[in-house]
C-alpha cells in the first residue's frame, strides 16, 4: 500500500505548551480518506490525536478540518487528492479557522458556529392557521429549501469566511443559509420580520462580500452565499426593506450603474449607495472614504480622469438583457441544486469537485414571490 505523510497541528491545553506540527506516516489506499489516515494514526501510533469523527460518510459533519490550508471534511477527502493539493508531498491537517481550538483538530463550535445559528431564530414559526393535516405547498418550494436543509453544520464555510475574519460578529454563511431555510419555507409566518432583522443587523446579510469561499468550502453543495443573495433579493425586491446599512441602496445603485454604464463606474457607486452625491447621508460617507480613494488613486487602481468621466456606456446587448428582465411579471430564481433533465447527455455534476452541484444543465425554476 502507498505511504502518505500527514503533518498534523497538535495542541493540548493539558500541557500548556504552544501548538506544534507533528508528522505521521500512514499506509492506505489512494481512495481512502484523510480521516482513515487520522484514525490509523490513532489506532496504531498515537491514540491521543484529537479529532471529532463519527459517520465516515459525510453526513454527520463532525470531522471538519483544514487540509493543506482549505476546509474539508476529513472523511470526504481522498488521500490522493489531498496529496495533489499539498504542493510538497506532505498533507497538512490543522483545525478549522475562525473558531477557537480546544485540542489538536477539535475547535469550539459552540462559541462561534452554534451561537450564530441560534441568532437567526432557527425554528419554524408556523403561519396561521395551522392546518389540521399537512400544509399544502408547491412541491418546488420544498425541493428548493432542501438545498439549505442539506447543511450538516460542519463549519467548513465558517472556517473559510473572509468577512467573519474581518468582522467576527458577522452572522456568517451557515447561519444565513439556515435563515433562508425558513424565509424560503412557505409554511413560515415570519418572513418580513426575519428579513428585516437580518437586513438591519450591521453584521447581517449585507455583510457578505461575495468572496465565494463558502460555496467552495461546502461539502454538501449548500452554496451558502447563494442563499444569502436570495435573502437579499427577497428583502429588497419582494419586501422593499430599506435598511440602515445602505445594503438596499447599494444593491439598487449597483444595478442602475450597470444598466447605465455596462461596466461599473466606481466613482458613482459609492455616493449612489448612500442616496446620491448631494444626499446628506453621502457626505460623511464620502469624507470617510477619502483615505481609500486616495490610496486607490496612488496605486493606480483608478485614474482621476476615469473616475470623473467614465468612458464606458452600456452597449445594446446589456440594455436588451435589462429590458427582458424588467418585462418579466415575476422575478425568477434559478434552482441550481436539483439539476438535470431526462434526455440530457452531460452529467451536471462532473465538472467540479464534490462541492460543485451547480455547474451546468440547470433547469430554471419559477419562484413565485412570497405569497
Amino acid at each position: 500500500m502507498p505511504e502518505y505523510v500527514l503533518r498534523i497541528r497538535r495542541y493540548s491545553p493539558d500541557t500548556g505548551a504552544a501548538a506544534r506540527w507533528q508528522d505521521f506516516t500512514v499506509d492506505l489506499e489512494p481512495h481512502q480518506s484523510v480521516l482513515d489516515g487520522l484514525l490509523q494514526i490513532r489506532d496504531r501510533q498515537d491514540g491521543s490525536v484529537g479529532i471529532r469523527s463519527s459517520c465516515q460518510a459525510a453526513i454527520c459533519g463532525s470531522c471538519g478540518v483544514r487540509i493543506n490550508g482549505r476546509p474539508h471534511l476529513a472523511c470526504h477527502t481522498h488521500l490522493e487528492s489531498a496529496l495533489g493539493t499539498s504542493g510538497d508531498g506532505i498533507i497538512t491537517v490543522e483545525p478549522m479557522g475562525n473558531m477557537p481550538v480546544l485540542k489538536d483538530l477539535i475547535v469550539d463550535m459552540d462559541a462561534v458556529h452554534w451561537k450564530k445559528i441560534k441568532r437567526v431564530t432557527p425554528w419554524l414559526v408556523n403561519s396561521e392557521p395551522v392546518p389540521e393535516r399537512e400544509y399544502v405547498v408547491p412541491a418546488q418550494s420544498m425541493l428548493d429549501i432542501t438545498q439549505s436543509m442539506a447543511c450538516i453544520q460542519c463549519g467548513c464555510c465558517v472556517s473559510d469566511c473572509l468577512s467573519m475574519e474581518v468582522d467576527p460578529l458577522f452572522i456568517g454563511p451557515a447561519a444565513l443559509a439556515k435563515a433562508y431555510r425558513f424565509v424560503g419555507d412557505p409554511r413560515d409566518g415570519e418572513h418580513p420580520a426575519r428579513l428585516k432583522d437580518l437586513a438591519q443587523d450591521p453584521h447581517g446579510m449585507y455583510d457578505c462580500t461575495h468572496c465565494f469561499n463558502c460555496i467552495e468550502a461546502c461539502p454538501k453543495g449548500v452554496a451558502p452565499m447563494n442563499q444569502i443573495m436570495r435573502l437579499r433579493r427577497i428583502a429588497s425586491a419582494d419586501y422593499g426593506i430599506e435598511d440602515d446599512n445602505n445594503g438596499y441602496r447599494h444593491e439598487h445603485a449597483f444595478v442602475r450603474n450597470i444598466e447605465r454604464n455596462g461596466l461599473l463606474h466606481e466613482a458613482d457607486l459609492l455616493p449612489d449607495s448612500y442616496g446620491g452625491k448631494f444626499h446628506p447621508r453621502a457626505v460623511p460617507a464620502l469624507v470617510g472614504s477619502l483615505p481609500a480613494i486616495v490610496k486607490a488613486l496612488m496605486r493606480r487602481k483608478v485614474t482621476l480622469g476615469k473616475a470623473l468621466g467614465h468612458p464606458h456606456k452600456a452597449p445594446d446587448d446589456v440594455k436588451r438583457i435589462f429590458k427582458v428582465v424588467h418585462q418579466r411579471p415575476e422575478r425568477r430564481e434559478l434552482n441550481l441544486y436539483v439539476t438535470g433533465t431526462e434526455d440530457e447527455d452531460e452529467p451536471t455534476y462532473a465538472r467540479g469537485g464534490p462541492t460543485d452541484g451547480s455547474s451546468a444543465g440547470h433547469t430554471p425554476a419559477e419562484r413565485s414571490p412570497n405569497a
Binding site: S12, H31, R42, S54, I117, L124, V130, T146, Q153, P347
Partner: protein, 563 residues
C-alpha cells in the same frame, strides 16, 4: 449535583423526541450525548419514514407488513401502537418544519419501500433522517428554556437507589474530563445501536452499544439480541450504505452472470422483499460463485430516470462518485450485504419502560419489540419517534409527584477510580484497545453474520471471552483530561464486548432460522419451539442468564412468509 425530572441519555431522534415530549408534559429535562446532537447516527437513515396516512391505506396493512417482515417475532400489540400512531406523528413532524417531499398537488408524497404492500414511505430526498434530526434540533433550540442540553458528555454508568430503581447516572464532561453525578426521577436510554461490534458496518463510530451495556449491567434484560440486520446494499470495504430508496425507485440487482437473481428468491416482490430475504439471496449468489471477483453483486440504478435519481437519490449519487468512483446514473455499482441494525435491545413495554423501575429505553437501543426478527426499511425512524415520544411522556408522568432521589456519591468515586486505572496502565501492559476492537469486529462479521452455525458461534463466544480478559489490561496513549477520546474508546470497548457476547449467546440459543437469524444447522423456522423471544440478563453471573418471553399475538397468526 444537577437534578432533573427526566434525564435522557443519547440525543438522536429517539432522545430528542423524548426530550420534547417530556418538556411538553411539564417535566424538567436534561438530555445528554457523547456527541453534539446533530452528529447522531439518526442522520444515516436516508430513505424515509413509514405511515399509513393516505386515505386508501390503513394502519392494519402497515401493521401486517411489519408483522410479516418481523417473521412473526414482533409483538403485535406494540406494532399496532406504532402503526396506529404513525400518521399523527408524520403530521406533527410536518408542522414542526420537516421539508417532506410533496406531490404535484402540494400534498405529502410517498415512495415505495421494501416489504411494504403500499407506497407509504414519506421522505426528504434521500436525507430523511438528517432532515428529521436537524428539525428536531431546531425544536430543541426553540425549547431551550425547558431542556438542558449536555452536549459532549459521556455516560460511564447508571446509578440505582437502595430499592433498585434507576435514579441517575455518572458521566464525564468530555471537554474538561471532569466527572459528574446526575440525579433524575426517570432515566431514558436513547443511545442507539451497537454496529461497531461488526467490521465493516454501516453504523457510525459512535454506535458502540453503550445504553444496552449500561442497562444490562444494572440488571435490565436484553431481548432479541440475535436479530442483527444485514442491509442488502452496502459498499464493500467501507460499509457505506446505499439507501433502500434506490430499489424503491426501481433499481435492480444482478449477479456477475447478468441474471436478475431475485426472480429465484422472491418472484413477487423481487428487489423489494424484506431485507433479510434480499441479503440472504445476495450472500447465496456470492457464496455459490455467481458474484463479482470482489465478492459483490451489482445494483443497477440506471433503470431509474436520471432526473428522478438526481432529485430523489442525490446523496447516493454523491456517495457513488466520492466513495466508489462510480456514476450511478450511468453504470451499476457493486454492493454486498453489510451489518446495519440490531432489532434486539433493552426489553421494554409499549411505553418504553424497562423492568427496572425508573429506567426507560427508546429507539435502536430498545426492543419493544416492533421489529422482531427483521426490521422493515423506513420503520426505524418511526420506531425512534413513536417510542421516544411515548417514553418521554410516560417518564414525565412517573416523575410527577415523586420526590427527587439522591444518587449516591459512592458510584461517582467508583467510576473516577476505574477511569484513572485505565489512564494509568503502562504502555505495553497488554494489547492496544484498537487491536481488540478490530479483532472483535472482523470476527463478528464472519461468525455472527447472514449465515451462522453452532461451531462458528461457539468459536465466537470463546474469542469474546478471551477479548474480555485482554480488555482488562488493554492500554491507551492519552493521559490528558481535555477531549481524552482514547479513554472513552477503552470504555466503549467494554460496552461492545458485553453486547457482542449477548448477540452470540442469543444466536447460539435460538436453534432455528427466523428473520435475520439463519442457522445453517437449523435452516427451518420452528414455531412450535421458537415462537418466543430470547431474553438475557446479567444477574450477577459471568455469562448471560437465558430465559424466554412470549410473543404478543393480537390478530395475525404466524403464516408462511414469502415475497
Amino acid at each position: 449535583m444537577p437534578a432533573h425530572d427526566v434525564l435522557i441519555i443519547g440525543a438522536g431522534l429517539a432522545g430528542q423526541r423524548a426530550a420534547l415530549a417530556a418538556a411538553g408534559a411539564g417535566a424538567t429535562v436534561a438530555i445528554m450525548s457523547k456527541v453534539h446532537p446533530v452528529r447522531s447516527h439518526s442522520n444515516a437513515a436516508a430513505g424515509g419514514i413509514n405511515a399509513a396516512l393516505n386515505p386508501e391505506d390503513s394502519w392494519e396493512s402497515h401493521a401486517f407488513d411489519t408483522v410479516k417482515g418481523s417473521d412473526y417475532l414482533g409483538d403485535q400489540d406494540a406494532i399496532e401502537v406504532m402503526c396506529r400512531e404513525a400518521p399523527d406523528e408524520i403530521l406533527w413532524l410536518e408542522h414542526a418544519g420537516v421539508t417532506f417531499h410533496r406531490n404535484d398537488e402540494g400534498l405529502l408524497g410517498t415512495r415505495a419501500f421494501g416489504g411494504a404492500s403500499a407506497a407509504r414511505t414519506y421522505y426528504v430526498a434521500d436525507i430523511t433522517g438528517q432532515a428529521l434530526l436537524h428539525v428536531l434540533y431546531e425544536q430543541m433550540m426553540k425549547h431551550h428554556r425547558q431542556i438542558d442540553s449536555y452536549e459532549e458528555w459521556f455516560v460511564t454508568a447508571l446509578v440505582q437507589d437502595d430499592s433498585g430503581a434507576c435514579c441517575g447516572c455518572v458521566c464525564r464532561n468530555i471537554r474538561d474530563g471532569s466527572m459528574q453525578l446526575f440525579s433524575a426521577k426517570s432515566v431514558i436510554l436513547a443511545t442507539g445501536g451497537s454496529g461497531q461490534c461488526f467490521k465493516p458496518t454501516t453504523n457510525a463510530l459512535i454506535c458502540t452499544g453503550d445504553g444496552m451495556a449500561h442497562a444490562y449491567r444494572i440488571g435490565a434484560p436484553l431481548m432479541d439480541m440475535e436479530m442483527i440486520q444485514y442491509h442488502p446494499t452496502t459498499l464493500s470495504g467501507t460499509g457505506i450504505l446505499i439507501t433502500e430508496g434506490a430499489r424503491g425507485e426501481g433499481a435492480h440487482l444482478y449477479n456477475a452472470l447478468g441474471e436478475r437473481f431475485m426472480e429465484k428468491y422472491a418472484p413477487n416482490k423481487m428487489e423489494l422483499a424484506s431485507r433479510d430475504v434480499v441479503s440472504r439471496a445476495e450472500q447465496t449468489e456470492i457464496n455459490e460463485g455467481r458474484g463479482f471477483p470482489d465478492g459483490t453483486v451489482a445494483l443497477d440504478i440506471t433503470k431509474v430516470p436520471r432526473k428522478r435519481t438526481l432529485e430523489a437519490l442525490r446523496e447516493i449519487v454523491n456517495i457513488g462518485r466520492d466513495f466508489a468512483g462510480v456514476d450511478i446514473t450511468r453504470e451499476p455499482i457493486h454492493i454486498l450485504p453489510g451489518q446495519h441494525y440490531i432489532m434486539g435491545g433493552v426489553k421494554t413495554d409499549v411505553w418504553g419502560a424497562t423492568p427496572v423501575p425508573g429506567l426507560y429505553a427508546a429507539g435502536e437501543v430498545a426492543c419493544v419489540s416492533v421489529h422482531g426478527g427483521n426490521r422493515l426499511g423506513a420503520n426505524s425512524l418511526l420506531d425512534t419517534l413513536i417510542f421516544g415520544r411515548r417514553a418521554g411522556e410516560h417518564a414525565a408522568e412517573r416523575a410527577r409527584g415523586m420526590r427527587m432521589p439522591k444518587a449516591s456519591e459512592a458510584s461517582l468515586q467508583d467510576e473516577r477510580r476505574a477511569i484513572n486505572a485505565i489512564v494509568r496502565r503502562e504502555r505495553g501492559s497488554g494489547r492496544r484497545v484498537s487491536e481488540i476492537k478490530l479483532e472483535l469486529g472482523t470476527m463478528m462479521n464472519q461468525n455472527c453474520a447472514v449465515y451462522r452455525d453452532h461451531e462458528g458461534l461457539m468459536e465466537a463466544h470463546e474469542i469474546i471471552r478471551r477479548l474480555k480478559e485482554e480488555a482488562k489490561t488493554a492500554y491507551i496513549d492519552d493521559r490528558g483530561t481535555v477531549f481524552n477520546q482514547d479513554v472513552l474508546g477503552a470504555l466503549e470497548l467494554g460496552y461492545m464486548l458485553d453486547v457482542a457476547e449477548c448477540n452470540v449467546v442469543a444466536a447460539l440459543v435460538r436453534r432455528e432460522s427466523r428473520g435475520a437469524q439463519y442457522r445453517l444447522d437449523f435452516p427451518e423456522r420452528n414455531d412450535a419451539d421458537w415462537l418466543k423471544h430470547v431474553v438475557l440478563t446479567a444477574d450477577g453471573a459471568d455469562v448471560p442468564k437465558i430465559s424466554a418471553s412470549p410473543v404478543a399475538i393480537t390478530q395475525w397468526q404466524p403464516g408462511v412468509r414469502s415475497y
